[in-house]
């Protein structure tokens, strides 16, 4: 998912990092002190924009609530982003196309009914069905039979995907259209959660009062005010809650949440507001959090324009990349809040390899000038970087342009579009000239997500129009690998091709800047920018 786009306010929070304070804070709790496992803590949230159904939660507000109410076959370990089994005992495959799922026994929904193979298969068939209007329905597109329940035109011909077969209560198989070796990683996404039988009788009602199988059960939804959850006593997952529940308090501004945090009316916040970034480490002391996020900021090229085509122009793009002094900009303009990128995959993601970009991401004005000349120079000796003016990007775009101008003499300037929607429309409508701000926030913490979905020919989010037979070949090979490790290694090879072609310049990796109140401890954040919910301890 392109950076900062999951929901509109996520854009604000992601960009707010632009002005973060200097210094490095510790992510993690201050430790020590007794805790009371029955006490709840409050978290800054926003009113969900859709009913609370797993396949309908694509925005942060609803997404993080659903994530806590439901648990799928697998999820991602908050400490390292690796896939870890939850309801599934194992997900096996011999050909990366047919997956055999074995469930653990003992899992139940909050209403006491057991979680079986049927709970998953029914839930996925329902969610994939175009008629049920689930925003994340396309996530099921890999599964054979998806096109029957989700035709491009007209009504579904059936309500079951042929690729899903239930053997018994604890075994089922998933057959895919193509080989997707990292499919289990997708299964960690909340859209793949199971649903209880009661749901199908009244989906709308369950969307207001969800019954899941996750660590927390739904108590109440006081609209625009709060969603209250409590710990589910019979939770079978590996991450047993160390607290009594999470109360999601709705905030419309990050400033209000921060004020509440400072006066201990709110326990954990999402992102520090831009106005407080300079001071939050002083305000909060060791309760301030500065943790890596699975997100990257790039500047893309309009490769669909003839100006930027041809092998020589790759040298120009590499030269421009070398003209950007990432270290200085992240330290000064961005006040140390981001980390200079050395690859196209964000830090901490499975398959991340630092330095793929090599010298091309190292500031070197002389080499930059030389490469640009060898490549025939920048068309018109001028470039524009298009960005959305509502996201706090102006400062760094100007800094990048200054760096390019001073290093190479190329006339660089920013080209602001009024807001995110307008900028996106111009980018996807190919109405950009030269360069544009782009980025990527992980859907799941695997390097394939940063590469296949952005740089493969014709990929939905391939905004640059990049098309490299070599990259496509390497990523297809990686998709067919026997294991996730091999997939990750395969994609690392594909990533090396990006250094040769430089379709987009990697700039820096995002960080989570947050904090917590004096009521809680052991607060850590994962690469999605979410706290490790079940690990938060409330002081006794």
């Amino acid at each position: 998912m392109p950076a900062g786009t999951r929901v509109r306010w996520a854009v604000v929070s992601a960009t707010s990092v632009a002005l973060v304070a200097t210094g490095c804070g510790s992510s993690g709790g201050s430790g020590g002190g007794s805790s009371d496992a029955s006490k709840t803590f409050t978290y800054q949230s926003s009113e969900p924009q859709n009913p609370l159904q797993p396949a309908n939660a694509n925005e942060t507000g609803g997404g993080r609530i659903v994530q806590n109410l439901f648990k799928g076959l697998a999820d991602y370990d908050p400490s390292n982003g690796k896939l870890r089994m939850q309801v599934a005992d194992s997900i096996d495959t011999s050909d990366a196309q047919t997956y055999n799922v074995t469930l653990k026994s003992g899992w139940t929904f909050h209403d006491g009914t057991p979680v079986t193979s049927q709970s998953f298969v029914d839930a996925w068939n329902w969610a994939a069905n175009v008629g049920n209007n689930q925003i994340n329905s396309s996530w099921f597109g890999d599964i054979e039979g998806y096109k029957d329940v989700h035709p491009e035109n007209g009504s579904p011909t059936t309500d079951k995907m042929s690729g899903l077969t239930v053997q018994d209560d604890t075994h089922f198989t998933i057959k895919l259209y193509n080989k997707v070796s990292y499919f289990p990683y997708k299964l960690g996404y909340v859209a793949f959660s199971p649903l209880p039988q009661g749901f199908f009788k009244d989906p709308a009602g369950y969307g207001q009062k969800p019954v899941g199988n996750g660590p927390y059960e739904f108590v109440s939804w006081d609209h625009n005010s709060q969603v209250v959850t409590k710990t589910f006593a019979n939770y079978q997952g590996v991450d047993k809650p160390k607290n009594g529940g999470v109360v999601f308090k709705m905030y419309t501004t990050a400033e209000a949440a921060y004020a509440d945090l400072q006066s201990n009316n709110l326990d954990v916040i999402d992102q520090v507001p831009p106005s407080a970034l300079a001071n939050y480490k002083n305000d909060l002391g060791d309760r301030a959090i500065d943790a890596p996020q699975g997100a990257i900021q790039n500047v893309g090229f309009t490769l669909y324009q003839s100006d930027w085509q041809g092998q020589d122009k790759a040298k120009v793009r590499q030269g421009l990349s070398m003209a950007i002094d990432r270290d200085t900009i992240t330290k000064t303009v961005l006040q140390g809040s981001r980390k200079a990128a050395t690859a196209w995959v964000a830090e901490g993601v499975e398959g991340y390899k630092s330095g793929t970009c090599g010298d091309f991401c190292t500031y070197n004005p002389d080499k930059a000038k030389q490469l640009i000349q060898e490549g025939g120079g920048v068309p018109g000796n001028a470039v524009k970087i298009t960005y959305n003016a509502d996201g706090g990007h102006k400062e760094w775009v100007d800094a990048v342009c200054n760096s390019i101008r001073q290093a190479t003499g190329v006339n660089c300037s920013g080209d602001p579009k009024t807001d995110f929607k307008t900028a996106r429309a111009a980018i996807t409508g190919h109405q950009i000239d030269g360069m544009f701000r782009t980025g990527w926030v992980q859907d799941y913490p695997l390097n394939a997500n940063f590469l296949a979905d952005v740089y493969r020919t014709g990929a939905a989010s391939n905004d640059t129009g990049y098309s490299s037979p070599e990259f496509d070949k390497l990523s297809t090979e990686a998709d067919q690998a026997a294991s996730i490790q091999d997939t990750a290694t395969g994609y690392q090879k594909a990533e090396e091709q990006l250094a040769l072609d430089m379709p987009a310049i990697p700039l820096w990796y995002y960080r989570t800047n947050s904090g917590y109140s004096t009521n809680v401890q052991n607060v850590t954040f994962d690469s999605f920018g979410n706290p490790a919910w079940t690990q938060v301890e409330v002081k006794g």
Binding site: T5, R6, Q134, D260, Q262
Partner: protein, 308 residues
């Protein structure tokens, strides 16, 4: 009088239709597609978009959408938001919150603004007058969000007298600080308006007569001076009540109050047609009723005003 009121109420009907139509047109001419926006900018699945468009009746021509909407309104159905909640329920949640906040603010405007203006007007050129003028000037010149954040930082974070945001909007004591911030600007206007009006009427003939007649001072000020001076102030207060209802977005944001302003702001952002049209229509009606009440109050204040 009864005839007049009836005519005014009947006038609200075309205004109601005109307002809903205008707002409807405006919401649907906003740039951006609400359904595509639901997907963030992850490439939206066309089949799903088409299906959602059909669900929310957005695949019909505009005039049909409007007729559909109006038809529902007559069945007391204000539509549903994207969260699946009826708009009537959303309004039933948001309006009481805002009304409470608006009343608190209104209370401050009347019981602080009026006396300040009265004192300043009666003792023109005195220290009190200068003080009122300077204070109101400061309040008028500082944007409300600055006042809000300053008040929040001082009283909640530094002193800890109140919670930084409103935890429970049914607790009036928690609404005092946001109410005062919300009222500040209008309060200053009320004070200045009252001061000027009092100042003018002090020199009126009937005042001289009243003084010459030897009426007691409180009768002169209460019955003659204040009553005659209040007409412009009441006009201002009446329209301000409408503004307090719909225009509290900034204050509601600072103090995290889930009132009409916040709900409306979010709905506009998401282009949730039914929610925006519903709320704004109610706000238009509030304005109409408030101005009717103001007009009727004129007659109470000045018996010379008659309604034919």
């Amino acid at each position: 009088m009864g005839h007049y009121v009836l005519r005014r109420v009947l006038q609200m009907i075309p205004v109601f239709f005109g307002a809903t139509l205008l707002i409807f047109l405006m919401v649907y001419s906003l740039p951006g597609d609400p359904i595509a926006a639901m997907f963030g900018d992850k490439a939206a699945d066309p089949a799903q978009v088409a299906s959602l468009r059909h669900k929310y009746y957005l695949d019909q021509p505009l005039w049909k959408q409007y007729l559909h909407y109006m038809n529902n309104i007559f069945h007391l159905d204000f539509g549903t938001s994207f969260t699946g909640r009826p708009v009537s329920e959303i309004m039933a949640d948001a309006f009481p919150v805002t009304i409470r906040l608006a009343l608190v603010a209104f209370f401050f405007e009347i019981f602080i603004g009026l006396p300040l203006g009265l004192i300043a007007g009666l003792y023109r050129g005195s220290v009190a007058d200068t003080l009122v003028l300077v204070l109101t000037l400061i309040v008028i010149s500082i944007p409300v969000f600055v006042l809000g954040y300053i008040a929040q930082t001082i009283f909640a974070i530094n002193l800890g007298w109140v919670t930084a945001t409103v935890q429970d909007s049914t607790d009036i004591s928690q609404l005092i600080l946001p109410g005062l911030v919300l009222a500040s600007l209008s309060l200053a206007y009320v004070a200045r308006l009252t001061r000027t009006s009092i100042g003018e009427n002090l020199r009126a003939d009937y005042m001289r007569t009243a003084v010459a007649k030897g009426l007691p001072r409180h009768t002169i000020i209460g019955r003659h001076l204040l009553r005659n001076s209040l007409i412009p102030v009441v006009t201002f207060l009446g329209t301000d009540l409408g503004a307090l209802m719909g225009g509290a977005i900034v204050t509601e944001g600072i103090f995290n109050i889930a009132g009409v302003g916040n709900v409306l702001y979010k709905a506009i952002n998401q282009k949730e047609g039914p929610t925006v049209v519903g709320i704004v229509t109610v706000l238009v009606l509030v304005y109409l009723v408030a101005s009717l009440v103001v007009d009727l109050l004129y007659a109470v204040l000045d018996p010379r005003i008659r309604y034919a």
